[in-house]
């Protein structure tokens, strides 16, 4: 059975204000879903709440990943299960080189960070590190980032586009089963969008599922999502296939939103 991320009637508040008002959605591995919607519809809240940001308070519903309720889990535990979030605004961390950080993350996920007696297996680590370095180099190249980015401090001094591409490098190296991408395409020029979309396409397969949050239809041209959902006011208001995205591109969001107001769905 495919591993699934099952979101059921999810309600989330931020600083006392309810943003997600009963959202239901299932993303299985092997599927690519796209969530579209106007500003303020709660797309980023969904992404951050799924990953477990402490500021986002879950007030109702449940989220199962591989059959396990993840709402009680720390963000790192969700990551170990195979969940990944590509941030809309990746954070800058001074003094921590991208490569070193990713290696630490990789080790944490492999469960090698610390063995029971506190002594890591040096031989295995060295071998894994060698492979990791090769892979990092390959993935940087895939995202058209210079090799030197591995030594640069995490997102510090990166341009907006470089930050987004570095997120996808991280995603490739950590190999999640379900990846949430929060407006990865915003702020990218058309060439970068293509590079990023191709990198995402490479991951597609039966072992990988994605939830791609976007404001624009543009990126969807480069990889056809299996499902397209429209989000408004904290809920999914319409679901369909790729043709829905095309329809949105032609008509804008208003026809759906207005239709909803009139009770048509």
């Amino acid at each position: 059975m495919a591993n699934a991320l099952e979101i059921r009637d999810l309600r989330v508040s931020v600083e006392g204000k309810e943003i997600l008002k009963g959202l239901t959605l299932t993303v299985k591995t092997g599927e690519v879903h796209s969530i579209m919607g106007p500003n303020g519809s709660g797309k980023s809240t969904l992404a951050l709440a799924l990953m477990g940001h402490p500021k986002y308070e879950v007030t109702g519903g449940e989220v199962l990943f591989k059959g396990q309720n993840i709402l009680e889990l720390e963000p790192d535990e969700r990551a170990w299960l195979g969940l990944f979030l590509a941030f809309q605004y990746p954070l800058e961390i001074q003094g921590v080189p991208l490569g070193r950080f990713l290696w630490a993350a990789k080790k944490a996920q492999l469960g090698q960070s610390e063995t029971s007696n506190g002594k890591p297996d040096k031989k295995a680590d060295a071998k894994a590190l060698g492979e990791f370095r090769k892979e990092l180099k390959a993935k940087l190249s895939l995202l058209k980032l210079d090799e030197v980015f591995g030594q640069r401090y995490l997102n510090v001094g990166f341009s907006g586009g470089e930050k987004k591409r570095a997120e996808i490098v991280q995603m490739h190296l950590l190999k999640p089963q379900i990846a949430i991408m929060d407006e990865t395409d915003s702020g990218l020029d058309i060439d970068s969008v293509r590079v990023v979309a191709e990198a995402i396409n490479q991951l597609r397969g039966p072992e990988f599922g994605a939830l791609i949050i976007t404001h624009y239809q543009r990126i969807l041209n480069f990889f056809r999502p299996d499902y397209v959902h429209v989000m408004a006011d904290g809920r999914i208001v319409r679901s369909g296939d790729y043709s829905l995205a095309q329809e949105l591109e032609a008509k804008g969001y208003d026809w759906i939103l207005n239709g909803q107001e009139q009770g048509v769905s």
Partner: protein
């Protein structure tokens, strides 16, 4: 120093009987002594407290020349007259009468491993310190193993004429050189603790690097044999002759368990014309120690002195490495890092004295406070009249990990010259939830994420270290960070 002397020094060290004899010593099997060190060579512990008699006895036991005995006695008189510093950390609980001022290394090592606190042992485990080193660091054994490894390095140094001895051996083998330079940078009258050190000093390093000699590898305190690596009152003197280059590292990241609660060292550096001298300290005294150290360098024309100073352990540290730029074009680089945990006060910083034109100084101070710890930056910047075109840049960054912890900045600036460029910047930061979340979302625990951010903050320091020190330092910070979350 005349050229002849330099060559003489080289020949004396190279292939000398001393080196051969030491090789023999290395090959002896010390395992039979278990936690103990053969005590037939040293077994002196003087009674606590300080007096002329005690000082004469120290000098006698060390079989020193008269001038050194006189130097000690005069320093003792200064010590009696000087008042305690009325600024900085609280030193009111130091009781000079209860301190033992001289104990030879062997009886330090005669202490049993059982006496070492459980916490220190546990930290050794976590740091992965080899068995032999643990005993040494805990003061219950001496470290001979590394001596074997470094033997060939010592021979190379000897060939180049580099003198690298304990201060005690330095005084025995090069009395004239020691006499010429000792206390020229830090006289006993400088402060009460410098006076105390001058009266009772023991151990420390004596290094002379001849003209133009580049020492490629960092010299580390534990290369030496039979010298207490970190005595209570060690005295270090390093002379880099014209155009010489040397990097010295003292200390280590494992907690040093000491029998006395006062550590008061004096370190004097002399960088002659065009010399390049870097001095790195990693201090991790156990948390009951008062660490009151005077460090000062003089830099002549076009010379560069770099102090790299990390303070992690101790209850109180007061330490402000100084560089007096006495020659045109001299440079000073002071990088000071402090970590103040529960019950600790790290009062550290740096001093840059511009006494010549076209001199440049940079002071960077980074501190982390957590669990109610306090880190203070105290710095002095002086540009004397005539030191035109001096440039100085001071930067202090403090990271506070919780609301109970504290950081202060005390910059003292005196500028007596118009044509100068001075920059001063201070920041106080906190770790943001979003940063922690970002790192956590990649699989790091909250504690690991916080450690990583702190390590990143310390990176400007860590990257100056040789790799093995950097790794140890990072592990140590990770240990210090544990338990600070949740």
């Amino acid at each position: 120093m005349p050229k002849e002397d330099v060559r003489h020094l080289g020949e004396k060290r190279h292939g000398s009987a001393t080196v051969e004899k030491k090789r023999e010593t290395f090959e002896r099997d010390y395992s039979q002594y278990d936690f103990k060190f053969p005590t037939d060579r040293y077994q002196h512990v003087l009674k606590p407290g300080l007096s002329r008699e005690i000082i004469e006895e120290i000098s006698h036991l060390k079989n020193e020349p008269n001038w050194m005995r006189e130097f000690r006695l005069q320093a003792y008189e200064v010590f009696l007259k000087k008042t305690m510093p009325m600024w900085g950390a609280d030193l009111s609980t130091i009781n000079f009468d209860r301190i033992t001022y001289y104990a030879s290394p062997s009886d330090k090592s005669a202490r049993s491993w059982d006496d070492v606190p459980e916490e220190v042992k546990k930290t050794f485990d976590r740091l992965g310190i080899p068995e032999a080193e643990r005993k040494f660091l805990a003061g219950v054994g001496a470290q001979y193993d590394s001596e074997v490894v470094y033997h060939s390095i010592r021979e190379d140094l000897a060939k180049k004429g580099v003198v690298f001895l304990s201060m005690d051996d330095g005084l025995r083998e090069y009395p004239d050189l020691v006499k010429e330079y000792i206390a020229t940078v830090i006289p006993p009258t400088d402060n009460k603790f410098a006076a105390l050190n001058s009266a009772v000093w023991s151990g420390g390093s004596f290094i002379y690097v001849p003209k133009g000699v580049q020492v490629e590898i960092p010299l580390q305190a534990y290369f030496r044999i039979n010298a207490p690596q970190m005595g209570q009152f060690e005295r270090t003197l390093i002379i880099a002759d014209e155009g010489a280059r040397v990097h010295y590292i003292e200390g280590c990241t494992a907690p040093v368990y000491s029998r006395e609660s006062l550590h008061s060292a004096v370190v004097e550096l002399i960088a002659k014309r065009g010399a390049h001298l870097r001095y790195t300290t990693l201090q991790n005294w156990s948390n009951d120690v008062y660490n009151l150290v005077t460090k000062r360098a003089v830099a002549y024309e076009d010379a560069t002195v770099e102090w790299v100073d990390a303070n992690i352990g101790s209850r109180i540290t007061m330490k402000y490495p100084a560089v007096y730029m006495l020659g045109k074009g001299a440079k000073a680089d002071i990088l000071s890092v402090a970590f103040a945990g529960k019950g600790q006060h790290q009062d550290t910083g740096g001093k840059a004295i511009h006494a010549a034109p076209y001199t440049t100084s940079t002071i960077v101070s980074k501190s982390v406070s957590k669990d109610g710890g306090r880190a203070s930056y105290r710095g002095q910047l002086v540009v004397a009249k005539g030191a035109h075109h001096a440039k100085s840049n001071v930067r202090c960054d403090a990271l506070l990990l919780d609301e109970r912890s504290r950081t202060d900045t005390y910059p003292y600036i005196e500028i007596d010259e118009d044509q100068v460029t001075i920059g001063h910047e201070a920041t106080v930061g906190k770790v943001g939830d979003d940063q922690i979340f970002y790192l956590q979302s990649r699989g790091l625990s909250e504690a690991e994420a916080l450690s990583m951010i702190v390590l990143g903050f310390m990176e400007p320091f860590t990257k100056t270290l040789p790799m093995e020190y950097a790794i140890e330092f990072n592990r140590l910070i990770q240990l210090e960070m544990e338990g600070s979350v949740g």
